[in-house]
Symmetry: C2
Subunit: 331 residues, 2 copies
């Protein structure tokens, strides 16, 4: 119940307009199901959310009420109670069914808090109205605060070297490339080309790795990332975008890998000519990185130096050396 | 309760070893609090989790039991019941307090499901033991499945142009750069330099934008991203890493921005010499992008062409034209 994308539903609102829940993306959505407009419980619940509307708006959150009532009943309800947030008509109960709150011929009172990306992050079932709006508001406040922290996947990602030889299914590898392919690029040129090496071809690629990259040898897959300088913007003052755009794509690939429990470690240490030959990458493409892919392995199999890096703290320059406010950092 | 990082706690385990919950990062953690080893309810709960251990392991999940018992009592309990998963001693109840499940001098029976990044994604309070392990397993199964989908932030990110002039607080801007600074780079060179332009300096930067970037004019901040080619790897076959590494950093910045409800739109259309002058960026650095930052604005203020892009579907080449299996894509 907590994990679903809850957004791709079109419903008629109280003004008879077709609304796709997707329109609310980017805000926190308090999606609340109520049984019947105008009844005492539903009236109090709606008034409570209306009362919290300023606080919720300040946190970028919007309540959206859903009931089996028709649009006209919802319009009258909103008018009588002065409700200014969206009310959606779910006459056929399919939205309620998708959220698991359809009951007999109606709905259970239930509330879902969706984050800015449309993921259900909190669910209340069998809601009791008194105090509910405040409880929801507190949850929105916490979620808003948490989202101002560093993204957890960015935070935990490390360029790990301990990789197991366990195979990674093709659909999971595909997902990595799909994520990379969603990166932006100059003029939407999408200059990146990915070659996923597996099996015998992968063995040829591994022969092009120097001894220092011994740790990549168990990996069940390697993604080669290549681009042609002329297939992306080349602008004044040495601004070549093909490598920058590939970098954004690989950034997304790593986030997706981390979410799926994979190591995705981009390396620069390889013989590019040999790898290009092995993968049929044309000579005039730049093979900018090999991303070593696999499940986490046993750090004990790493060299002493690499094990220390693997298990030690992440090393970064002080932020002040890379960030300047209104002027270049002194660093 | 649902939103906390729950990992930075060191506890003694049943073998007297100090365990930091952080060690479990990368796996799903079923963190379950139980009142007292050896009592009937706690025994059944532990047996149930032990029984589900193969299924949980297959999904990369591990149960971790926590109770106020001392390590020796936990060791005896594990031995008697044949428990092979970690049991942690929380004698001073501080872990229980952090999770809000301390009660009088003990703990409430409660379970938390943490995702691979250590975020609590599901919580069960006042747990009834019968059927609980199965319910938890079902939740792990769903979470595992959801995590194999595209990352929601990658999925919803768009290079939006409708930006409001509402100010963005300095700590939020800092968080963007912190996220970018966590990207990997060749030999950990961290070649990126960020200059955040605001106020009068920002106005000078905006003067360097061409008419087509009119939409960026309301933005309350712009992040300039620059790097020096010699401050990062330059390897054979035209492999220059400074721009690629900056790309990965900007990829992370965009994910963080999306999580915080911000637009972060990298652009290439600007006079680089003028912007470098305005921000004191040395001439020998490449100013690869300006990332336009702000809260989402009103699409009605965009040109007709840009409004159509903003509200239309995302355009990407077919995956088969950018992805090849063991050989370069034909595309």
């Amino acid at each position: 119940m907590l994990f679903r994308f809850g957004l791709d539903f079109v419903r008629e609102d109280k003004d008879g307009r077709s609304v796709n829940l997707r329109e609310f993306l980017g805000r926190y959505v308090v999606l609340y199901f109520f049984p019947k407009a105008g009844t005492p419980g539903c009236t109090k619940e709606a008034r409570d959310f209306q009362q919290y509307l300023p606080e919720l708006s300040a946190l970028d959150a919007i309540p959206v009420g859903v009931s089996p009532d028709g649009p006209e009943a919802l319009r009258r309800f909103a008018e009588k109670e002065g409700l200014t947030f969206p009310l959606l008509s779910d006459s056929d109960l399919s939205l309620a069914r998708a959220y698991g709150v359809a009951k007999d011929k109606g709905v259970q009172r239930a509330t879902f808090l969706l984050d800015r990306a449309g993921v259900v992050r909190y669910a209340w079932s069998k809601v009791k109205v008194p105090g509910h709006a405040q409880e929801v508001f507190e949850a929105v406040r916490k979620l808003h605060e948490t989202d101002s922290f560093l993204n957890p996947l960015i935070f935990v990602r490390r360029a790990k070297r301990a990789i197991s030889s366990e195979p990674v299914p093709q659909e999971i590898l595909t997902r990595l490339i799909e994520a990379a392919h969603l990166a932006p690029s100059c003029f939407n040129n999408q200059p990146w080309r990915f070659v996923v090496a597996q099996g015998e071809v992968l063995e040829r690629v591994k022969k092009a790795l120097p001894g220092g990259n011994y740790w990549a040898l168990p990996a069940p897959a390697i993604v080669a990332v290549a681009a042609h300088p002329e297939q992306d913007c080349r602008l004044s003052d040495n601004r070549d975008y093909f490598l920058f755009d590939c970098g954004m794509a690989v950034g997304f690939l790593m986030i997706q890998a981390t979410q799926m429990g994979l190591v995705a470690h981009p390396i620069a240490g390889y013989d590019p000519i040999a790898v290009k030959e092995a993968l049929g990458i044309p000579k005039d493409y730049v093979l900018i990185t090999l991303v070593v892919i696999g499940r986490p392995g046993d750090p004990e199999k790493l060299s002493e130096k690499h094990r220390a890096i693997e298990l030690g703290p992440r090393e970064r320059k002080p932020l002040s050396t890379v960030l300047g406010w209104n002027r270049f950092p002194e660093g």
